[in-house]
Amino acid sequence: MNEAIKVDGLKKCYGGHTVLKGLRFHVGKGEIFALLGVNGAGKTTALECIEGLRRYDGGSVAVQGRMGIQLQSATLPEHIRPMEAVRLFAKWNHAEIDHTMLAALGIDELGKKQYAQLSTGQKRRLHLALALISDPDIVFLDEPTAGLDVEGRVSLHDQIRRLKAQGKTIVLASHDMAEVEALCDRIAILNGGKIVFLGTVEELTAKVGSHYTIHIKTETGDACYESDDIAETMLTLLGDFKQKGIAVLDIKVDRGTLEQHFIDIARGNEA
């Protein structure tokens, strides 16, 4: 595979505490790759080591291409206006300002608002725009939708998909399995500084198995059934209701999102 990033045996210690214990993975060009883990799993540290913002104590990191970085804890001077920040960063990167990208992110709409007056979503979009200023090949996004409302998340997800369509490689850190499920080609789940799962969302699903919860509403009341074989259970249940002459009003099937599987793996209590 054409690799954009290769991480081999990455180690990082703070004092006597080892937070990254030999991470090993690669990210293909044009891929959306996620580092997942609960808070404190080492996602941000790993990302910052790859970005070159943090020194590491062992292993190697190879990055092929120009990087654009959106930090989790990003902040700017409170009186700066969005376009002033864009111009400043563009000048330091010797980059032309891409007004199409700014329009897509809604930066030009922010006008003369100062940084401190922007909402969380607007700040996120601005930091994403700053990360994209130099037209990077690889975009790093650390918890990109943290603190955003539903509309903001959907909008940012669209932006991320657009970046992928442009052929950019995207690496994101998240603790939101639903977000990762919706966006990513491959994921690595971190627990205690180690990768405990590396693969696609489908592979994760296959690894943890499929468990379903069936909610059925009938004229006599509601009922809930657990099943590992959805087809068989549904056929049996519907056959029973029909035989007893009970009208079925509604059926809802929960596959069980990957969220619980992720939590189990990330916390080291894989079923």
Partner: protein
Amino acid sequence: MSAFLYGVALQWKLDIRSRALLITCYVVPLLFFAVMGGIFTSINPQAKDTLIQSMTVMGVSMGALIGLPPTLSEIYGSDMKKVYRANGVPLYLGLVSVFLSAFIHLLLMSAIIYVIAPVAFDAALPVSLPAYFGSLALFTAVSLSIGCVLGLMVKRPAKLTMISQIIFLPSIMLSGIMFSADLLPRFLQVIGKLFPAAWGYDLMAKGGFSLGSLWPLAAILAVAVFLCGLMLHKLKSEA
């Protein structure tokens, strides 16, 4: 170069938008000048001879020691520095642009005092304009360099305010701008000499570059620049 100049110009605009810096660089020093200028010259007519210098030393000290450090602390005490690094902006830009911007603001404030004092209080103009503004520029640079050390060194705002005041108040009280330093006990005179305000005032009041006042300022500047470089290097390697 264009990026650097844009950074400095932008910082200058941000400083104008920031009420805190506007207050410490213009409002308080000029109000102090308006009130104390009248009082000083009424009580002691001889104060007119050094009114411009004393009011300027007070204003520059306030802007440099109280106004500048919080701006630097905002940049280097937060993750803003990481945003700069992540996006290709060099770490020193914040320090240099804040320094240059404050330098311009303080020179403007000093120029206002220079123009108004003779009209409002019949204050005497310095003998040599180039020597005066040369001395002022050096004193301003030295004071700002101390402000830079404070802004880089102290991360917590409350602690920063306290330390700034601990340096600012003796600078003003012991430098000789409020009353002659000769009236102070010997040990307070010695303490006063530790601060650039005493040497800056001396240099500007004498109206020429006297080596006796020049070298202490140069020494303080050199130490402050060294410390700033050291702290920037530390910040860079903190990762």
